[in-house]
Symmetry: C2
Subunit: 342 residues, 2 copies
DNA sequence: TCGTCAAATGTAAGCGCTTACATTGCTAGG
DNA sequence: CCTAGCAATGTAAGCGCTTACATTTGACGA
C-alpha cells in the first residue's frame, strides 16, 4: 500500500476494446456464456484475465435491478447462538452464488430497523430476520418494496411473513414440565429482556403455563430480566438467590445466561444440582463443555439455517409467497438438573 | 408479503418533483445540507418522508465513487474468537457512519481471495483482514486498486500492509516458559493447520524456542495439527495421549481446541491438571467458564478491533499510509495448568 | 442461386445518483 | 443606479453496466 495513487480500475469497455468486441458481448460472456460462440468467449475471458477485470457491483445492480444478495439482521454476533444457524444459512446461499450481508442490531428494535433499511437500500434481493415481532409499518414497508422476507428462530403461522423455526412456547413447556416433575416448587427464571423479543416472552409464558398446569401459583415464579451475556447471567443469578423463598432451580432463557449463572453458583459455593439446578436453552457448545453439563433445549440450528436459505431463495427467484416450517426441539438432560434436596 | 407485485421504488427524481426542486438540490440536501437554504431543505426532507424515499446504494456508489463501506474477511463466524474483536471494529465504524460487510473464508486461502475480490467489486473503500500471510499477488492487486488494507491479529512490522495485533511468537513464548518452569518435559501441542496460517506457525515455533532455551530437545515436541473446533480438539487430544512418551501437558493453539481437549480428558478419566495440564490461547469466555478454568494467553480483542477501525478509517479518509500497532498480551493462570505429577 | 431464418454480435438507451458548471437573484460598494 | 460577487439553485454529463432491439452472417432448403 505504498505506491502513489494507482492505475484506473478496468471497466467492461476496456475489456471489450482489448478483445475487439462490443460491451454487450462481454456482458453476455459473463452472464449468459452460452449465448456467445466459444472462440469469442475465450478471447473475452482472456482479456478479462489480462486486465484483472472484475465487474462493478453498483453498476451491475443499477442496470440489472437485482444484486444476488440477501441481507440478514441478527441480534448479536458476539456469541454462538446465531452463529451456527447463520453459517449454515450462508453456506447454502453460497451454493447458489448468492452473497450474504450480515448486520447486527444489538437486540435493539431501532437499530434493527436502521439495518433493514440499509440492507434494502443496498439492494438486498431478500431479507432474513430473527423473531417475528416488529412494527407492522416495517413489514408494510418491505411488502410495498416487494422484498421477500423470511423470519427464523420462531415458528408462528400467523406472522405476516413465513417463519421457519420452532415453537418457543412448547419447547420451554417440555423443559418446565420436566423440571416440575423432578419436584421443584420454587422456580427462578432469568430471561432476556422481553420487550420486543417474542422468543423470550414465549419462553417465560411457557414456564408459567407449566406451573399452572401443575397446580402451582404461576405468580410465585421469581423472575429477573437482564441483558445478554455471561456476566449478566451471573449477576441475575446472584440476585435471584437472595430472594425468599430461595429457588431450587433457575431456568434461564438461553445457554449463555445459564453458563453465567452456573459460574456464579460455583463462586458462591453452591453445588449444582445439589443446592440449585440450572437449565438453559439452545444447546450451544458451551452447554456441553461446562461442568456439570447443562440441561437445556436442543435447537436444530444448522437445519434451520439451511431450510431458511432454501425457502428464501425460492421466494426470491420464483416470486412464490414462501412457506413456513416448524422444526422440532428436544430437551437434553445433562448434569445441571436434579431433584431438589429434601 | 401477500400483495401482488408492488409500487415502484421512489427515486431522487420523484422527491425532486414533489418538492418542486431539481434533483441536484435533493442530492445536496442529503449529502451537504448546509449548501441548501433551510426552507428548501425542509420541503425536500418532507417529500423524502412522504415518499419513504431512501437512496439507491448502487447508483450512489456509481456516481460518487465511494461507498462508505469497509469489508472484512474473517476465518470463521462460528465462534467467539473473532466475534468480539469484530464487534468492537463494527461499533467504531458505525460511529463514523460506515457500514461493515463481513465475509468468512472457512480458513481457506482460495475462499478468502474470492471473498476479497467480491468485497472489492462491491466497492469496499477499505479492507480488514486477519493474519498477514497471503499471496503477494493479492497484496499487489489491492495495491493497484488503491484499496487501503489493514491486517489484525498479528503484529508484523515487515508485512506489506499495516498490522495491528500482538506478537504471536512472544505471547506463546511467555506461556511456554511458564509451562516449562512448572516442570513439564513432555509437551504435547495441538495446533490449527499451519499452512497459510502465520498465527499458528508462530505459536508452535514459540513453544519450540522455549524448549530449546530450556535445554530440551525441540524435536521431542509431540505435535498434532487439526482443523478448528471443539470436537477436533477432543480427537487430537486423544491421539496425543496415546503417544509415547505421554505428554504431561497439552498446549493448544487456541481456546476452542483446548476446551475440546479438556472435555475429552475428563471423558477419558484424566484429572486436569493432576494427570495432564492443558493450556489455550485467546482467553475467550469459554476459558473462564470451563472447569478447571483454562490457563491461556489473554488477547485484547476489543482494543484490537477499535484501534484497527480508527486506523483504517484514517487510511481511507485521509489517504495516509497507516501505522501498525503492537498490543500486549498476558498469560492468564487458571486451574488447568499445574506441575506434572512426580 | 436465392431467400429465409436463426445464431452471433453490435448499438444505444437507460438504471438513479453526484457534481462541475451555468444560471439566477440578491446584496452591497462605488 | 449600476455592477461585481456570492449564495442558492438548476442543467446536464457521466459513473459502468444490462438488455431490447437492430444488424450481420452463414447454413440450408427449394
Amino acid at each position: 500500500m505504498t505506491a502513489p495513487p494507482t492505475e484506473r480500475t478496468p471497466t467492461l469497455a476496456d475489456v471489450a476494446r482489448r478483445a475487439g468486441v462490443s460491451t454487450a458481448t462481454v456482458s453476455r460472456c459473463l452472464n449468459t456464456p452460452d449465448r456467445v460462440i466459444e472462440e469469442t468467449r475465450n478471447r473475452v475471458l482472456q482479456a478479462v484475465r489480462d486486465l484483472g477485470y472484475s465487474p462493478n457491483f453498483g453498476a451491475r445492480a443499477l442496470a440489472a435491478k437485482r444484486t444476488n444478495t440477501i441481507g440478514a439482521v441478527i441480534p448479536t454476533m458476539e456469541n454462538a447462538i446465531f452463529a451456527r444457524g447463520l453459517q449454515a444459512f450462508q453456506e447454502e446461499l453460497r451454493l447458489k452464488g448468492i452473497t450474504l450481508l450480515v448486520a447486527s442490531s444489538s437486540y435493539r428494535a431501532d437499530l434493527e430497523e436502521e439495518q433493514i433499511r440499509t440492507l434494502v437500500a443496498r439492494g438486498a434481493d431478500g431479507l432474513f430476520l430473527i423473531g417475528a415481532h416488529r412494527d407492522p409499518a416495517l413489514y408494510d414497508f418491505l411488502n410495498r418494496r416487494g422484498i421477500p422476507t423470511l423470519v427464523a428462530w420462531v415458528h408462528d403461522p400467523n406472522a405476516p411473513v413465513p417463519t421457519i423455526g420452532f415453537d418457543n412456547h412448547s419447547a420451554m413447556l417440555d423443559l418446565a414440565r420436566r423440571v416440575i416433575a423432578d419436584g421443584h416448587r420454587h422456580i427462578g427464571v432469568i430471561s432476556a429482556e422481553q420487550a420486543g423479543n417474542d422468543r423470550a416472552r414465549a419462553r417465560v409464558a411457557a414456564i408459567r403455563a407449566a406451573m399452572d398446569e401443575a397446580g402451582l401459583d404461576p405468580d410465585a415464579l421469581s423472575l429477573v430480566e437482564t441483558a445478554y451475556g455471561i456476566d449478566e447471567g451471573a449477576a441475575a443469578f446472584e440476585a435471584l438467590m437472595q430472594r425468599t423463598p430461595r429457588p431450587t432451580v433457575v431456568m434461564c432463557g438461553n445457554d449463555v445466561l445459564a453458563v453465567g449463572a452456573m459460574g456464579r453458583a460455583k463462586e458462591m459455593g453452591y453445588d449444582v444440582p445439589g443446592d440449585v439446578s440450572i437449565t438453559g436453552f439452545d444447546d450451544i457448545e458451551l452447554a456441553k463443555v461446562c461442568s456439570p453439563g447443562l440441561t437445556t433445549v436442543h435447537v436444530p440450528h444448522r437445519q434451520m439455517g439451511t431450510r431458511a436459505a432454501r425457502a428464501l431463495i425460492s421466494m426470491v427467484s420464483e416470486g412464490t409467497p414462501g412457506q413456513g416450517q416448524r422444526l422440532d426441539t428436544r430437551v437434553v438432560l445433562r448434569g445441571s438438573l436434579g431433584p431438589p434436596r429434601a
